[in-house]
Symmetry: C2
Amino acid sequence: MVKQERALRTRDTLIRSAAEIFDREGFAVASLTAISTLAGVSNGALHHHFVSKAALTDAVEEAALARLLVVTDAVLPLGASRMQLLVDVTHRLAGALRGDVVLRAGFELSGEVSRPPHADLREWWRRWVEETLKQADSEGELRPEVTAPDVVSAVVAATVGFEVMGVREAEWLSADTVTRFWRLLLPTVVPAALLADLDAEGTCPL
Amino acid sequence: MVKQERALRTRDTLIRSAAEIFDREGFAVASLTAISTLAGVSNGALHHHFVSKAALTDAVEEAALARLLVVTDAVLPLGASRMQLLVDVTHRLAGALRGDVVLRAGFELSGEVSRPPHADLREWWRRWVEETLKQADSEGELRPEVTAPDVVSAVVAATVGFEVMGVREAEWLSADTVTRFWRLLLPTVVPAALLADLDAEGTCPL
């Protein structure tokens, strides 16, 4: 039992170390030796857990996806609109990308052309935004002249842009950047009556 | 003279071939052999032009920057607003990214963590957007409650998002995607009087 716990902990450490090396040096040039060194384990121990760099990378993406699901699986507070949920979750996502190297590495792997994505996080994110906006639309939270796909592409492009620019400059993932984006977008997206109830700063700060 | 012309042409072919291999396989794993093979020249000829992969990559970025400057150096038509210029140039940029592998590779190199950027195209683009919006602001083209930096971050994040998502799916760089983004953004950014004059589809289609 203790041995199994230790094995799980080593596996987690390896995933986190891989994410850190990917984030710092880039996935394609990251070496397994750099990863095992950072994790403080032998190359043999790494290969015991992951047969190849591909297997380890898939595990990083899976761990990142699990974290994305924690971000998006927010419970809609009683009486809150779908649009407020969307605003809140984009704030949570930006905060998580700032602080969580595994989530960040997972998103970066989405754009890596040297391997096919195993769990494409940007695509998962796009689908969640699409689903949420469809619900918002069916609940009358979008202006009649706006269609859900219009808003999906603006929100997904901007958030992916924040993520990509945030790799070099953390300010792009600040709560302030996300708030300013929503202040520009919300007035053309939601009816005036709903606008007054929405908080562009988000209602559940991290 | 003929010899010099041929040398210049070979250099251009190598830059274009490098961009194609970077775009297809990723910069970090791209081999000089794959590039010289695609260019139809020997490894020796490649090394005659570029002493290293780093030198060739710098040349790709420089060529991409020259193309970005062609996109942004649009002449403001008589009577046109700065905001219309911004809309038009984002359309031109999306069109150029769809069709020009060198420009696309240059933008992708901006996000490459395994090397410091030589000419960071995303940063160049951010500066051009910032400069244009400052001018728009000083000419009274922004609503009083909106500040230029708010619009800069929304426009830069969305366009970088289109570029990044466009690597996997060209639809993100379509004129339709760009038009729909501006239709959502413009009403909160410019005064009502100017809005009627602006064309979200752009006034000079490629």
